[in-house]
């Protein structure tokens, strides 16, 4: 079309996913023995992607008309029937915005991982592959880790650039695979508590749960493919195509006629439910915390979970093809419900990462709810801000955990050096014999922490900034602006139920964030590990710099989306974010005008944010102040009752057990499928099918045995009988065969005489 006017930089788009992929291939095939080189390759690959990505993104921001005429590089790739499907990459405002965030956050996480995995440290003598390394040592499989996360980055970068749903699905699944591999990265790890899920099981759970959603999504895509004849976004989002999808219906048993658009939209949303861990497929995400912490940040912030939201934003014209149709209502319902549901669970969790995991589910619910009510721009905004502050929080929690582990080692001196905080590897040359002497220690349990602010100031500051952003601390943090916009949208468009639900969820968010910050950083240390925790080790240099960078973005990124109608501050804002997304929305015929100012949602978000934070601080301040009791061996901070446990009673137990969804699914689906499988196998092998086959064989054998018997007894009997009769006659006749010629002559004479006699005697 206008090839000459396209800036050259766009031609480098294809490099963005290829660079990290190249790093993956190089590490896997050649450099995996050299951990430093592997880490360097991964960081360099994604770093280059980041730089080129930003160059492309900023070029796109400056270019008018990119929304109406996105940049595409296409090749005919897939022969399908009489036409070929073209594959390629595309840059439009949404992709550009994602490029702003994805490779950058990935890069920071990679840098952080260099420290987290202890690259450059010596290999621990007791460390085994598939177990976390002891503090101060490099992970034995660090190269593998960097290969995986490089592939992960490929998946996410490719996903946001994909020009069609098939490619999107490919990158989507590559990420699914990587999440499986990374969650189960410490594949040999076992815990003393057999009920506690191990990393390998968590990875499997994540993959299979998301696969359910993916399969439904695949079904939706294929139906769409069949209806439209193409899966390219350009084709699908043509107004006449959407019109066709919205008006033609298909008949579904028990439900009746349903517009194609609705059916396909809901099926595709199912993919997002799985990937973004929405109710009822949310169960995998908290367990995904079994992976190394940078992985949690990758999965829960920058990449995989936001892929689900990205998918819905990308296909929003399809979702909204039937205006205010059941598809959007469904999305809004699932989103709002999950936002509240997950927030309630987060309140009762003690694992620092589990709280963040549930908060992620909840925040993703915010985004879906926003999309469901048509707040297209606000959802995108929240997706981006959330990516920054959630990555920050996860990385911060990783730093805290490492600090605690270092403290634990330090606190226990030489003996502690040999401690494996879970049960060790049985029967191998491991350190497990030591672990029985010391109580197992969970460095992730917030009850074991306390007072870390003084010991890990850089981590603490950045973590608190992230936490404030998450709770939506007014006017400063990015989270405030994006969350406020969602609430405002819900309010202005009259979605009161969604508004109230989200407001309550936001209150809970602020509450559990305050609880977390209070328990971790304030008060007094409750264990020796917390007492000796620190961030002086050299690895923390790699880890804290990304934290600081992310902290800047967790605050400042919100400023690009301050509504121009906002009192006072709006005057200084040009709201570039809304401009950009608005132009895309316009090109796609989505209604996304800037909202008029409304006081109610603003006040609501200020009140819930500050109120929640204050409430959390007040309630947990007392627990935080309880210090460690030295000398009392029976005392453990784990025995401390949560201040909410008594007033909430049974409800608290239910919350702590996540509404028993794991148990329910385990009983119904996992056990159910296993039972069915075993039953079918016996049906196949022991009861029906194979016995029939063997039975037919046996039947023929019987028939042939009968034939054999018949042959032997009857047919052979006749033949042999004839022979026997002949033989008997022969032996009877042999008596006269004397061998003496005289006898024969005598017989002849007698016979002759008889004949002659007869001749003479008998009448003629």
């Amino acid at each position: 079309m206008h090839e000459s006017s396209t800036p050259f930089i766009y031609n480098l788009t294809i490099l963005l996913p290829i660079l990290p992929f190249l790093a993956f291939v190089l590490i896997v095939l050649w450099t995996n023995r050299n951990k430093k080189l592997s880490a360097g390759l991964a960081v360099a690959g994604v770093g280059l992607s980041w730089l080129i990505g930003w160059a492309i993104a900023f070029t796109a921001f400056g270019q008018h008309g990119i929304a109406a005429q996105p940049f595409r590089m296409l090749r005919a790739w897939l022969p399908a029937g009489r036409a070929w499907q073209a594959f390629g990459f595309m840059v439009d405002p949404l992709s550009a915005l994602m490029l702003l965030m994805v490779p950058f956050v990935c890069f920071l996480i990679f840098v952080y991982s260099v420290g987290y995995m202890g690259v450059g440290k010596p290999l621990g003598v007791h460390d085994q592959r598939g177990w976390p390394a002891e503090p101060g040592h490099v992970d034995p499989l660090a190269s593998r880790f960097f290969a995986y996360i490089a592939l992960f980055a490929t998946g996410m970068i490719g996903l946001v650039l994909a020009d069609n749903l098939i490619m999107l699905l490919i990158f989507w699944e590559i990420m699914g695979l990587c999440s499986y591999l990374l969650i189960g990265f410490w594949f040999a790890r076992k815990y003393a508590d057999p009920r506690k899920i191990t990393p390998k099981e968590a990875g499997l759970k994540a993959f299979l749960t998301t696969r359910i959603g993916d399969t439904l999504m695949l079904a939706g895509m294929l139906l769409l493919f069949a209806q439209v004849g193409s899966l390219s976004f350009a084709e699908i989002f043509k107004p006449e195509t959407l019109e066709h999808l919205a008006t033609t219906t298909t008949h579904i048993a028990l439900i009746g006629p349903v517009p194609w658009a609705t059916l396909i939209a809901i099926l595709i949303f199912c993919g997002a439910i799985g990937k973004s861990a929405q109710f009822p497929l949310h169960v995998w995400l908290p367990d995904a915390m079994e992976g190394p912490t940078p992985v949690s940040a990758l999965i829960h912030a920058a990449t995989m979970v936001s892929a689900g939201v990205y998918l819905i934003i990308r296909t929003f014209p399809l979702m909204a093809a039937v205006e205010h149709g059941p598809a959007l209502q469904f999305i809004a319902f699932i989103g709002a419900f999950t936002a509240l549901f997950a927030a309630t669970i987060a309140v009762a969790q003690n694992d620092i990462k589990k709280v963040l995991a549930y908060s992620t589910i909840s925040q993703l619910g915010f985004m879906f709810a926003a999309l469901g009510i048509g707040a297209y721009v606000a959802a995108t905004f929240h997706l981006l801000t959330h990516a920054f502050f959630k990555a920050l929080l996860f990385l911060g929690s990783g730093s805290v955990i490492h600090g605690m582990e270092h403290g634990h080692h330090h606190g226990h001196g030489e003996a502690g050096k040999l401690v494996d905080w879970d049960i060790g590897a049985h029967g191998s040359q491991s350190t497990s014999h030591q672990s029985t002497n010391l109580p197992s220690f969970d460095p992730q349990d917030m009850r074991n922490m306390g007072g870390l602010f003084r010991r890990m100031p850089r981590t603490a500051w950045t973590f608190i900034i992230g936490g404030l952003a998450l709770s939506g601390f007014p006017f400063v943090t990015a989270g405030f602006w994006s969350k406020d916009e969602i609430l405002a949208d819900a309010w202005v468009h009259g979605h009161t139920v969604v508004f109230v639900t989200l407001a309550v969820a936001a209150l809970l968010t602020a509450f559990y964030t305050a609880r977390q910050i209070t328990l971790v950083f304030f008060g007094k240390p409750r264990t020796a590990a917390a007492e000796h925790a620190g961030e002086e080790d050299s690895i923390f240099r790699w880890m804290t710099i990304p934290l600081m960078v992310l902290a800047v973005f967790a605050i400042a990124f919100g400023w690009i989306g301050i509504p121009t109608t906002f009192p006072l501050l709006g005057r200084f804002s040009s709201n570039p974010f809304h401009h950009l997304m608005g132009s895309l929305a316009e090109a796609l015929h989505i209604e996304a005008a800037e909202l008029p100012f409304a006081a109610t949602p603003l006040l609501t978000s200020i009140v819930v944010a500050l109120g929640g934070l204050l409430l959390g601080w007040l309630i947990y301040r007392g627990v935080a102040e309880i210090g460690r009791r030295e000398g009392d061996a029976s005392w453990s901070p784990l025995h401390l009752a949560d201040p909410l446990a008594r007033p909430l009673g049974r409800i608290y137990t239910v919350l702590q057990n996540k509404y028993y969804f794991d148990e329910l699914y385990g009983k119904v689906f996992v056990k159910g499928v296993q039972r069915l499988a075993n039953w079918l196998f016996r049906f196949d092998d022991a009861w029906i099918i194979d016995p029939i086959v063997d039975g037919v064989g046996e039947l023929w054998r019987r028939i042939s045995e009968f034939g054999h018997a018949f042959d032997v007894r009857v047919v052979d009997g006749i033949v042999n009988g004839v022979g026997a009769v002949t033989a008997a006659a022969g032996s009877a006749a042999r008596v006269i065969q004397t061998g003496r010629a005289q006898n024969y002559l005598l017989v002849a004479l007698v016979a002759l005489s008889v004949v002659l006699g007869a001749f003479l005697v008998l009448p003629k």
């Binding site: 006269i736 065969q737 061998g739 003496r740 005289q742 002559l745």
Partner: protein, 102 residues
């Protein structure tokens, strides 16, 4: 003239003597001699019927000469066989020569 009947009676007696020798004697040579007697009885018959029924032709004498020739050959072969058997089995008793027994 002596009637034909007398010749026939002589021949029959001679034949029966020979037959008895063949059937009853144990010595193979004696059996052979019996056969000779029977052949000669036939010769007598041949000549007698020639003389009394068709004296103009020499058919009877021709037959008799044939019989004598065959008898001589038969005796020669028979004796040769018996000598062979005797060498093999050390006996010419026909009761013991029963290799053909079924």
């Amino acid at each position: 003239m002596v009637p034909l009947t007398w010749y026939l009676i002589l021949a029959a007696a001679l034949f029966c003597t020979g037959l008895f020798g063949v059937l009853a004697r144990k010595n193979a040579v004696a059996v052979l001699m019996g056969v000779e007697l029977m052949l000669n009885a036939v010769n007598i018959n041949l000549l007698a019927f020639w003389r009394y029924t068709a004296p103009g032709e020499l058919i009877g004498q021709a037959f008799a000469v044939f019989v004598i020739t065959v008898a001589a050959a038969e005796a020669a072969v028979g004796i040769a066989l018996f000598i062979a058997i005797y060498r093999l089995r050390d006996t010419v008793n026909v009761e013991e020569i029963d290799a053909m027994k079924g």
